[in-house]
């Protein structure tokens, strides 16, 4: 019994101190982000590694999720004789929910873990210490480009996911189920509101991007300098980020209605 209490206490303390560390880390990252130099070359590298290399998985997943939504939506709506609203159902669920959330989850697995592993390996091989000894702050040189670009690519990839998803829904609803193309598009146009839905979707994706960027870089930066440490940090990035994304998603939706 005592052991259990002690264990819970220790875990809580660890969690709180971790939260403190990540806050300080985030603060230093923000300072670095507004301090020159911008390091354009590194930013481009990161766009390629985080964004371009994730294009395939995002497009394929978007298309598949859209097709499933089309199928499920059609079968459900047909029961109420409301299949002409399929466009609205597919578009709204993708824009408000599936786009940002699925993109963030996929990016966590694809790019977040890679980021943690890369920084963690640099820690294990003393490359970050090497930078420090050359009077270069690793947060500025290594962490900043990765975190900033994660913030940039998440909304863009989320938008791409949504476009492919809607196309997938259209394929099912119109080409396969024989719905009317005009009705599909019109129902979509009538129901999607730019500020509430589209801008909100971008905002949500941006927040998830910040979350992935922060957790992934922090985990790498603070990992134990061993191969076991790097692998533990990578796993932890995927678990922590995925769970936080789902929790944040609920609160963003509940509080701001996006």
């Amino acid at each position: 019994m005592i052991h259990a209490v002690a264990y819970i206490g220790a875990r809580t303390l660890k969690f709180i101190s971790e939260l403190g560390h990540i806050t300080v880390f985030g603060f230093r990252l923000c300072v670095a982000a507004v301090t020159p130099p911008l390091r354009g070359g590194l930013l481009l590298d990161e766009i390629y590694k985080l964004g371009v290399l994730s294009l395939m998985i995002i497009c394929i997943s978007g298309l598949t999720v859209g097709m499933v939504l089309g199928l499920q939506g059609y079968n459900t709506l047909v029961r109420f004789g409301a299949e002409e609203s399929l466009g609205a159902v597919v578009a709204l669920s993708l824009i408000r929910e599936f786009g940002p959330v699925m993109t963030a989850l996929l990016l966590t697995g694809r790019a977040g873990s890679a980021t943690t592993a890369e920084i963690g390996t640099m820690v294990a091989t003393e490359q970050l210490d090497g930078l420090r000894m050359m009077s270069v702050d690793p947060i500025d040189y290594v962490v900043k480009p990765k975190a900033l670009m994660m913030l940039l690519v998440t909304p863009l990839l989320s938008a791409l996911f949504i476009v492919f998803g809607i196309f997938g829904g259209y394929l099912i609803g119109v080409a396969m189920m024989g719905g009317d193309s005009g009705t599909f598009i019109a129902s979509m146009e009538n129901s999607v509101d730019f500020v509430n839905d589209v801008a909100g979707s971008f905002l949500k994706a941006g927040l998830f991007g910040v979350l992935i960027g922060l957790v992934a870089t922090y985990r790498g930066y603070s990992c134990e300098p061993t191969s076991a440490g790097v692998s533990a940090a990578t796993t932890s990035t995927v678990v922590t980020t995925s769970v936080s994304i789902l929790i944040f998603d609920y609160f963003i939706t509940a509080l701001w209605g996006v």
Partner: protein
Amino acid sequence: MEPTDPINPVNGAAHIVLDNVSMSFNGRRVFDSLSCEFPRGKISVVLGGSGVGKSTVLRLIGGLVRPCSGRILVDGDNVCELPDRKLYSVRDKLGMMFQGGALLDSLNVFDNLAFPLRESSKLDEEEIREEVHRRLRSVGLSDVDELLPGELSGGMVKRVALARAIMRSPEILMIDEPFSGLDPVSTKMIEALLLRLNRELGITMVVVSHHVRSTLRMADWIVLMLPDGAVAGTPGDLLNSQDPCVTRFLNEDPDEALAALENPDAATEYSR
């Protein structure tokens, strides 16, 4: 501060002072109240068994880890108490070669060497190129510009790392095991390079080495780290020491050790 040892001639101006430094990692003790000094403008060699904390001493001096207690003065600044911002200005005086090289593995050799200059000097690309090639030649490498660190041999990594450490012409050069994994010719060459840097530019050097013979040839000052504290002195002092731990460490082959000491010019000749 530790009272300066009266019999010690080179200790007049200590560039780096460790004063009662204790260090432990996660509660595991590495050393307790270690005190030693590194004289300005001289080559000091840190000797000691594997795991006594030689690399840790270098990391402490660079402010990469903080001690549990004690003071570390680098050119008068206590690096244990400096905030991060100020630490960087102390590090501008330091060059460090890590035991594992610590080269940035996403950059090729040329960019690795150019990196410190691009970050903290105003040289243009042409001057940087010249400087990089000059340093590469001085460690005996050529035609390696385009190679990535992963494509280098262990000894080449060491030499590139050494070249990078001297890139910014530091006042204090810390080198972790420059000779391990090098063939005898490269060893002599690096030894000569270090001697030349020290004699011509007056760089203070802290060299961690296991190589007793080359240590005795080049060292002005030796810090021998033993599990229960450090013994420091000139090579002559230590060779004549009565302490069994010291003699056991130095005199694996006493004749050779003495020969090396009596003929310190042997290495210098190589540099010509």
